[in-house]
Amino acid sequence: MSARSKRGSALEAVLVHALLLVAVVYALYPVLWVVTLALSKAGGIEPRVIPVPHGADEITLDNFRLVTGAGDPERSWLFARQLVNSLVVSFATAATAVAIATPAAYALARFEFVGKRSGLRGMLLTQMFPGVASAVPLYLILDALHLLDTRSGLVLVYAATAVPFAVFQLRGAFLAIPVDLEEAAMVDGATRTQAFLKVALPAARPAIAVTALFAFMSAWNEFILAATLLGRESAFTLPVVLQSYVGEYSTQWGAFAAGAILVSVPVMVLFYVAQRQLLSGLTAGGVKG
């Protein structure tokens, strides 16, 4: 590499970092308000440009204690259960959505069949209908399926909602995987299903992980359906609990903000841990491009 292009790339690195820093500021600034809100005593913060509490006497963890029920074993226990509910429901949603969407996406990427085009169109169309009042019909359907008041029912609803996008996402990923891989497997003695499970699926792992993350997120933050379809407090997910700090006349913003932060931490940890898996170029190298 020549000296000139090296200097260029150093300058470029600075520019890229500057760009990323600007983006980080944009991303974090409103969140700082939320954090300050969660930490401040007043339950509201004085307006200022840099939203950081002035001095230690303004900072309190009371909101976090309130949300997690610290000091009250029964409430802490309930909070822990609700956290577990959220995790179970969101992971189950991700797993179910991926399990439902992956074979369908594979078929839509690899097979020609009657109804393929209309199926794809139809799936896109489902995304276009605003769900202004679909909570009640969903309630009726789950009632008919005897899945009301169960986390399985909620998971099924979340997963079904996430499936169309997951199918599009995964179909793109399968289309990007060279057909040669599966053909090689089939020549090697694999059935179509084995080729799918043993070759295409591992090759699509990053895309599957990203899709699972999307499904996870859609379940993680949802509260209207969860509150409508679940019937017991011990079965509630965290967003439902959080939302109950919003009242008709007043909102406990401090508690709400503290809860929001608690809710987002697991997602960030998950993303941090999984990002290598999410973004590693696993397909690279398998096929000479």
Partner: protein, 398 residues
């Protein structure tokens, strides 16, 4: 390795090839029992586009058969039909006397090396090699043994625990071959396996493939568009064009006796010179005349009518032409435009007539120094090396 079968097939190879090629020109006899792979009347279209329009194929035990042709001729499709990756619209395919026409690939016992190598990106080299064996329920001990054998053969021993992305192009190619070898299939299928390698490596691997074939005695169907690979590797060469087999046979025979203008130009580098002209009978001798050429024709060779005045295309390979010195009969005079000296030999490019096509003639290395661009040189060629094609049908006169 099933030594017995391979040894047996090896002995049957050479005579089997030529015999079958001669016999199966127009009629469709029953598939001979000794055929490892045979296809009959294969037709295949993608949508409205016909790709194969009635192809027959026979590969005796242990033969290295090469399908060659320009892109779009259907050679890869034919290979994929044999592999079972596509299903034929019409026709039948047998492998080792089994009708496999409607069987999925896994039930055909074939192994295939892909142009892209198609290594499983998430598996190590070892697991890539073991993949097909595991699917077939081969015992672990057997798998290990076969991997060891194949990796020794291909020099993969040190790479077994790497992932494909950690390999060079040549290494990946060898893994792809290893994956086929460990399978010990009825037939090896190669789909342009060298096209992603650089020239030096390509020559090296080409020799290695032939060496492996000789060592294993494995029946092989090899698809390429590269005529050097076709000529050097094939026991039996099948030239495809426009979804049909133009000609088949041992490569040298095809080179020497191309049956159509297409085959004549497709094989041989530089290409055969083609000039339109006609036949002239003079004093019991037959001459081919036209485009600045006048050459005697070895009429003994032809069984068909060499009528006076018949319109023909005259074909002479550059290698069959020489600088006519002294009293050697000359067939044409070449106005030289450029001279390509390759060291051991040279090619003169130029025109015979002002309006004619470019003609290439081979020169000895020594002559290359004396022939200058712009000069006019006399060219000679043996009457036996003159190819004649019917001007209307483009088929060689026989």
């Amino acid at each position: 390795m099933s030594e017995a079968i391979h040894a047996a097939s090896r002995t049957a190879t050479n005579d089997g090839t030529s015999a079958s090629v001669e016999s199966s020109d127009t009629s469709l006899p029953e598939v001979p029992r000794a055929m490892r792979c045979a296809a009959r009347g294969i037709k295949k279209a993608f949508g409205a586009t016909p790709i194969l329009r009635g192809v027959d194929l026979e590969i005796p035990e242990g033969t290295f058969a090469v399908l060659v042709g320009p892109s779009g001729c259907g050679k890869s499709t034919l290979l994929r039909l044999v592999a079972g990756l596509e299903e034929a619209d019409e026709g039948a395919i047998t492998l080792a006397d089994r009708d496999v026409t409607h069987l999925p690939p896994r039930d055909r016992d074939v192994a295939m090396v892909f142009q892209s190598y198609a290594l499983y990106p998430h598996l190590t080299v070892r697991d890539n090699l073991a993949f097909g064996l595991k699917l077939r329920g081969t015992s672990t001990a057997e798998i290990d043994e076969r991997i060891e054998e194949a990796s020794a053969m291909l020099g993969l021993a040190k790479l077994l625990d790497r992932l494909p992305k950690q390999l060079s192009g040549g290494q990946r190619q060898r893994v792809a071959m290893g994956r086929a070898i460990v399978r010990r299939p009825t037939i090896f299928l190669f789909d342009e396996p060298l096209s992603n390698l650089d020239a030096a490596l390509r020559a090296e691997v080409r020799v290695e493939i032939r060496r492996l074939h000789d060592r294993l005695g494995a029946t092989t169907l090899y698809v390429t568009h590269d005529q050097v690979e076709a000529m050097t590797l094939a026991d039996s060469l099948w030239v495809l064009n426009g979804g049909l087999v133009e000609q088949k046979g041992p490569p040298l025979e095809i080179y020497e006796r191309p049956r159509t203008k297409f085959v004549a130009t497709f094989l041989g580098s530089p290409q055969m010179n083609l000039l339109s002209g006609r036949l002239v009978k003079e004093g019991g001798l037959v001459f081919a005349e036209g485009g600045g050429v006048r050459s005697r024709v070895d009429d003994e060779r032809f069984r068909s009518e060499l009528d006076d005045g018949r319109e023909v295309t005259i074909g002479v390979r550059p290698h069959d032409m020489f600088l006519a010195k002294g009293d050697a009969p000359k067939i044409a005079e070449l106005k030289v435009e450029i001279v390509e000296a390759l060291g051991s030999e040279a090619f003169a490019h130029g025109w015979l007539t002002s309006s004619g096509p470019t003609v290439i003639a081979r020169l000895d290395a020594a002559d290359a120094r004396t022939v200058k661009p712009g000069s006019v040189i006399p060219l000679g060629a043996a009457p036996t090396s003159i190819h004649l094609f019917d001007a209307a049908t483009d088929r060689a006169l026989a």
